[in-house]
């Protein structure tokens, strides 16, 4: 009997030893003379179980995890190749409560298919969206995107249909699709996971975007910190070209970032592709009018683009049919930091922050009480547990001074020192500032110094007033959200955790 063994090639699994596990399993299979194919799939998103190894049996796929290379001999001796029971066995991965409770529209195939195989993609329903999009006329395509209610998943939540309509209506000799895979926010990894686990989905999403706006060239800008995603996308693009999916009407070129957070900002990213410093451009003109190389450009986050094939395949109503208020569809939430069950959880908007952190995430990994969560990356606010009933919804978060951003939730236990986190927010802004505006470039450096003085007990009242002032100046005097939103983590830490900013807070909390 020919067996298929799945050992994720996803960076989290690899970082936890998956390559060694795959090699050891290969060795055992060869020694036993078994007909075994090892597929390096993506991750299913249950990261506490990585490396999560699966084997096909008559009953379907059976999983084991987390498998360390030291576990492999015992696992094989117990009958792994026949799907036999073992203490690391988890049964059918799809029946794990963490997965079973999700509504996976975007991540439906991630962790299931072979990311290097276009045939596997098609066998699992891939390509239908592009076919449907081709069958529609130009107006109907834009109408489909608009009807889905999809809002940009890169942070700003701008309606994707309106952006594409603007580009489609622009008159120019050339137009571009640009995919923003810079994913610099701490606590986020959904772009990485889908590029590594279902790369053809992004190719299809970008191709549909090209069709909608009338572009034949797409750029995919991936951060250099993601070598596995870069490799997976390069393999998939090669396979798509070989099969004629890419190359004729539409093609994609990968560009690799160079360790700059601000290059995730759309205009800085365009500068970077053009070969310049990643400095933010003043708007207008919008990229939709004058973007890459001066041409109308649709620039979108990975998660926005990978939502598109499903919307065309199943119709926009299914997507728009779930969600909360003006936040339609599903959000791939990323659970990170000090959390027991970290990973990817795709769910319709409307679920509460507390349900995600405590029920689904299982609280902290350390077993200590949750004290704070940061949502929306380094520019997002810190939330205390008393705000955990806030639903995941763009407007609901804005109402309590927060943002959903790219959907990353970073959990901290009670050992966190919030004054240090506020200091870090300023420090990160200072390190990554593109240098264009004074409030950001200088304000962030002053912020670090001021928090240091505050912690040292040097005229604390005056320092507090200065921090509040600085935050106001940065908020209103910055060109982009790096300077403009750094006040969110700083001020939310100050508002919700004032006790950590007292000089007598005696840095002992840090232990």
């Amino acid at each position: 009997m020919s067996r298929i063994v799945y050992v994720p090639g996803d960076a989290v699994a690899v970082a936890c030893g998956a390559d060694q596990v795959a090699a050891a399993l290969r060795g055992h299979a060869d020694r036993l003379g078994l007909d075994v194919t090892i597929v390096r799939n993506g991750s299913r998103g249950m990261h506490w179980l990585e490396p999560l190894v699966e084997i096909t049996t008559r009953d379907g796929r059976i999983g084991y995890g987390p498998v360390d290379v030291a576990d492999v001999d015992g696992l094989v001796a117990a009958g792994f190749f026949d799907g036999a029971p073992h203490p690391l066995g988890i049964g059918k991965p799809g029946e794990q409560p963490f997965l079973a409770a999700q509504q996976r529209l975007t991540f439906a195939r991630c962790g299931i298919v072979d990311p290097a195989s276009l045939a596997d993609y098609i066998a699992h329903g891939g390509g239908v969206g592009l076919r449907q999009a081709r069958a529609l006329d130009a107006d109907a395509r834009i109408a489909t995107v608009k009807a889905s209610g999809l809002r940009g998943r890169g942070g700003a939540g701008f309606p994707t249909g309106i952006k594409w309509e603007t580009v489609a209506n622009a008159v120019a000799p050339r137009k571009y699709v640009v995919c923003n895979a810079d994913e610099g926010d701490s606590g986020t990894f959904a772009d990485r996971m889908i590029m590594e686990g279902d790369p053809f989905l992004l190719i299809e999403g970008m191709a549909i975007c090209g069709l909608c706006i009338g572009a034949s060239h797409g750029y995919l800008y991936i951060r250099s910190e993601y070598p596995h995603a870069i490799a997976a996308m390069a393999t998939a693009i090669g396979a798509a070209r070989a099969a004629g999916w890419l190359g004729a009407d539409f093609d994609i070129e990968i560009r690799v970032g160079a360790g700059s957070y601000v290059c995730g900002e759309e205009t800085a990213l365009l500068e970077s592709i053009e070969g310049r410093r990643g400095q933010v451009r003043a708007k207008p003109p919008l990229p939709a009018h004058k973007g890459l190389f001066g041409m109308p450009t649709a620039i979108n986050n990975v998660l926005s683009l990978v939502a598109i094939p499903h919307i065309f395949a199943d119709g926009p109503d299914v997507y728009a049919g779930v969600g909360h208020g003006r936040s339609r569809g599903t959000m791939p939430i990323q659970l990170a930091g000090n959390i027991r069950h970290g990973g990817l959880y795709e769910t319709p908007f409307g679920i509460t922050l507390g349900a995600l952190v405590n029920d689904i995430g299982g609280g902290t990994a350390s077993g200590r009480p949750v004290r704070a969560v940061q949502i929306g990356g380094p520019l997002g606010a810190y939330f205390p547990p008393h705000l955990f009933d806030t639903p995941i919804d763009y407007e609901a978060f804005a109402a309590v001074g927060g943002l959903i951003g790219h959907g990353g939730i970073t959990v901290f236990d009670d050992s966190v020192d919030m004054a240090r986190m506020a200091r870090f927010a300023f420090e990160f802004c200072a390190i990554e500032s593109c240098g264009k505006c004074t409030p950001c470039r200088i304000g962030a450096v002053r912020g670090v110094e001021t928090i240091d003085k505050l912690i040292a007990g040097d005229q604390p009242e005056a320092q507090l007033a200065l921090i509040t002032d600085l935050a106001e100046t940065m908020k209103f005097g910055s060109l982009c959200a790096l300077g403009g939103f750094t006040p969110y983590p700083v001020m939310s830490a100050l508002t919700h955790f004032p006790e950590d900013f007292r000089p007598d807070a005696a840095r002992q909390v840090a232990g």
Binding site: A11, G275, G343
Partner: protein
Amino acid sequence: MTTGNPSLSLAEVIAPFAGMAGALLPVLHAVQQAFGHIDDAAVVVIAEKLNLSRADVHGVLTFYHDFRRRPAGRTVLKICRAEACQAMGSDALIAHAEARLATPMHSQRADGAISLEPVYCLGLCSAAPSAMLDGQVFARLSPDRLDALLAGAMS
């Protein structure tokens, strides 16, 4: 640090990018990949080949954290300092690495054996703390596990 084929000349490394729109970042990556760093002499050649001013190339080179103007240590350890890793003790991991390697963050040890650098998120935030050692990623790190990895990489 692993580098590409050292027998290639700078001109040969740059040649494939002729005619590419916005080629500077891909060229800088390729040059650094081949030679480990991008020195002033390389800047002159790159500027000439891409028809840019030296100031342009220099400005880009110094803007991006990834590019090096001097060789790195033989081993490069980048430890993640971003929030999710901090929530899982990356500050302590960094302090441990600095002490163990006798090398402060952002620097290279005098014997050239290792460079210790920060990185801001590797997308492994659900398995923190994480690090990149000579381009390989590692997660769920403890001081002991880091020591074992370093022993392997630096032996």
